[in-house]
Symmetry: D2
Subunit: 328 residues, 4 copies
């Protein structure tokens, strides 16, 4: 039985707890959260115990920690977990500071513990299928990538202020997708953007709509377009043009019902938001983490991937703020 | 220059006149219609002359007649045209009486003139492509056929009274599709139906919704479902299941615009009605007729096809009226 | 804690066991199967005990039985469970004999125990959404129904011999869909069919492709088309035409990946077969059963629904065998 | 009868000649081409006369010229036509030099003749419908635009050498779409690109794949992605995100046939290339030109639009060559 501690009992912590419960041989032992009530509710549901973080890191039976707490705690928890030789699963981003993120990666490497970052999109059935079909050569060499990444609504401005900005908070997933899908590293990054949906976001020094272009070392091209508030919902698509064809990843819909009315033919909107859209991805991601924990697999989304995506987010932020192309 | 006479200056007559104008070497010489104003307007547009039918059949320069007049005149015009050795294009149905239709076919055969029936669906790009892909073996042996054939609205009850009933007026196209697609003849026909949309249709002794099943000599199965008034528009689809796969023919839409709104994703309804849906088919059909006239092709929709579809319509009518399965 | 016994440890029994494990307050106590090894494997996975049926019915702690054994055991188990005052979940069909099925319904009624039949399609997210949208009036009065129900491959002929024939074995689901969607009862049934895919099925006195037409008391029309072996896979769709529009239920696909190649644009085939297609439905169905067990809901798919679908299957069998329309 | 002269008897000249023939009251009088055989063939088909350009501009009966000759002749023909007070239809681009293009616009203005540029995409049924739905407010204020513009194959390198580069030759259409759809002017342009499909294109000093980003004066964002050789064919799509929803314009397909095979579900590829894809657009564009000629409408795609698109193409070229963001 692998004993696991969950740091963070919010929405995503709850998702992870549910998926831990489905892993044979796994047991959620501890839950940690500054919000004791939330921790208590989650712990009760899963037969776990509410403790503070010290207890987690001190308990030798704890084989792994799931870090789903607020971003500003990630680095500290990673460092402590590495020191305590516990396997680590950490939500993105590793940290808002690239230096600190690199230090975490270094500590993890030195400790020799597995560390997996929660880039759940790579575990989504549609995205994973697309990727494996690229790897099988269906479209030849990938040449261009267009990523559509739009949220149904912006988070509270309070959250935005602490988020590190749209590139580190929201596009970090897209930067990871870019690296994964094109299998190439960025040579230059250009980012521009606007505040189109809520002036309060501009007041917080951030933007809510962006257009990013990445040119890779091999001359491949990627465009990412994002908006915090797509009036029609959550929109997660991409297409990869290769020398022999194109692969597209489309949205998932709650049902396959269509209405033919006197005005039009209508289908369901995409799944509401990430919790719905990536339900299967979260499950598959956690299953993979337990394979990693058992030593049967290596993390498919490593802390190095986390650092690399953060470096792109930082380059994009610089490009946007300084209105220049950033060479890497 | 092939001189052509058009009998009937209504909606479909106008379509044919426009398509005749696009055939190199064709000239619309005469227009005949009991509605002189309609005939005049059409004739003027195409540089033709308004005459009565006698003049058409007496004029040796007339190589071909296009019969687009009301159904009750078809048989007479076919017989006169055959006698006058003119090539014939006639709208469906040949006649409401199977005996008279057979007599027409006999007269055409005896006269040795080409006679083509306006089953325009066979000339539709989508349907024709599907058929040729069946012929190329893409789905192996065709085994089952499901035909969806729904109109956006019923014709006036006055028209319905003279129409020969829904099976001869509306489903005759579907019976032709059945024979063409499955490449087999009916062994038994079962038809049922209801008057669901307008009691006046029931008052006229007809129905407005039908379900027909045909079993072929080789045991293949076909189902046809029709309704005179589909609230969402004109719906013309079919699918053919074969031993190796299925081919589907879908509707055509006016544009490829989609709206993603806060409620749903919506696409255009299908093309409004047959004049829009089968615009390309009418053009292709008429081009084929002039190939037939030039002796380069044989009618792909012959008067025998017209008779065979009518026989199925009659069997379906009997099945419905007498509530029994009709063996053929 | 509700103690539950599972009768039948085959494929569907395993699905149910997994879903029981997800119900809070439910516990799988007993597993019964003539195949002891299968029973043992399933029991071990879920911490249950392998016993014989007598033990199940004698143990007062058992609140409910899940009957997922072979069809010939359903009636006996239902009768015994009713007598022992246990709640019943039973896979379709209730029995191959309409009389015996009615006797079961009678016994259930007399015992006052809840009895739910496993028509899982009603619990599918797409089908359930479509149904509730009909109920909300989106398409006005339902008038016509077209059901497409095709399997990827026929079961072994040995199974077919004991199956009661295609109408009771396969179409029973479609008959239930018909009643549920149109909200009306059959006035007449016509069924025809052929053996198109495997002569051994004909040898077993059965067919593998059918076309069924039902006319309801209110004159509504339904067509069902089925085939045991659709070369392209499992195909479960239907469309309902109402006075104001049409609702379609489409297939579910494993992923939303599309390939644009030099030849065509291709999407995934539908989910492989019922275990994949109806995964969510099976989960939702079992959750509903435990709501029923808790007295909070009444069975949405009752034994009376099971009897009514069987009556339609019997009428269809008669229509096919005797080549006549069966009035009900 | 409006007498018209066609300058250029190539592929697009032939398309225009066919569409002129369909305009009531229009007559193709003259055809001019350095390739006399091509001019002769086209003239014969339409009852026109092959002459040289001097004759066209000297003949007072010529009301309008259609300039479909090679790009290097456009400016001269526009200037001569303006001087001769003839209405002008000219294919894009006006010229490869922005200065010369501006001089043409000035001359046209001074002469007071109508001058329409052949941005046919604006006349495409799908694109025109999308635009009018934006104008009707369906998606509120347009905020972002993503343009997909991919060709099935690159033109000969010889052509590319004289083409002015990919931005002036190929993306000029997309720059026009950008201005038309967002209804806003560019504030900054960033373009990057690569030569991915054929080294000979790089040898010619050009690229074959580009990623362009435009930020407008109102802060709206547009991304354009293009490739000269999309292995799967011609791909012309765009989507516009507005404050209330999104509108998408999709490709047109030759037929609506779908194949469900044992491997996948496949649909037709998009229409082969621009001649097929924009057939309706070319017809509608020419009809509009004759409305302009009759004084009933003003050019919807004016020479100023031609100049503006060219200015964007020049800015993009500079951005790409000098690796910098170009402010406008």
């Amino acid at each position: 039985m692998s004993e696991v501690a969950l740091l963070g009992a919010g929405r995503i912590g709850n998702i992870h707890a549910g998926n831990i419960a489905r892993q044979p041989g796994a047991h959620l032992q501890y839950v940690v959260d500054v919000d004791r009530a939330a921790a208590q509710a989650l712990a009760q549901k899963h037969g776990a115990q509410v403790v503070d973080a010290d207890r987690v890191f001190a308990d030798e039976r704890v084989a792994a920690v799931i870090i789903a707490s607020s971003t500003d705690t990630h680095a500290e928890y990673i460092l402590r977990a590495a020191k305590a030789k516990k396997a680590i699963f950490c939500e993105k981003p590793v940290d808002l500071s690239l230096d600190r993120a690199r230090a975490c990666a270094e500590a993890v490497r030195a400790a020799g513990v597995p560390c997996m970052i929660g880039f759940q999109r790579r575990y989504d059935p549609t995205f994973a299928s697309l990727k494996s079909r690229i790897d099988e050569g269906e479209i030849g060499t990938p040449e261009m990538l267009v990523v559509t990444s739009r949220d149904p609504g912006a988070p509270p401005v309070d959250y935005i202020k602490r988020s590190g900005g749209i590139f580190k908070d929201m596009l970090i997933h897209d930067f990871d997708i870019f690296r994964w899908i094109l299998g190439d590293e960025a040579a230059s990054v250009y980012a521009t953007g606007s505040c189109l949906t809520d002036p309060a976001i501009e007041g917080a020094g951030d933007i809510d709509a962006t257009a990013v272009t990445i040119r890779t070392r091999h001359g491949r091209l990627a465009q990412i377009n994002t908006i915090r508030r797509a009036a029609y919902g959550y929109d997660q698509r991409f297409e990869v043009i290769g020398s022999k064809g194109m692969l597209q990843a489309g949205n998932h819909r709650p049902t396959e019902v269509m209405l033919w009315s006197s005005g039009a033919i209508t289908a369901d909107k995409p799944e509401h938001f990430f919790l719905e859209r990536y339900r299967a991805a979260y499950a598959s991601e956690m299953a993979h983490f337990f394979e990693v924990l058992a030593g049967r697999e290596r993390p498919r989304t490593s802390i190095d991937d986390g650092v690399a995506a953060l470096a792109l987010a930082e380059a994009a932020t610089t490009s946007w703020r300084e209105k220049r192309i950033v060479e890497l």
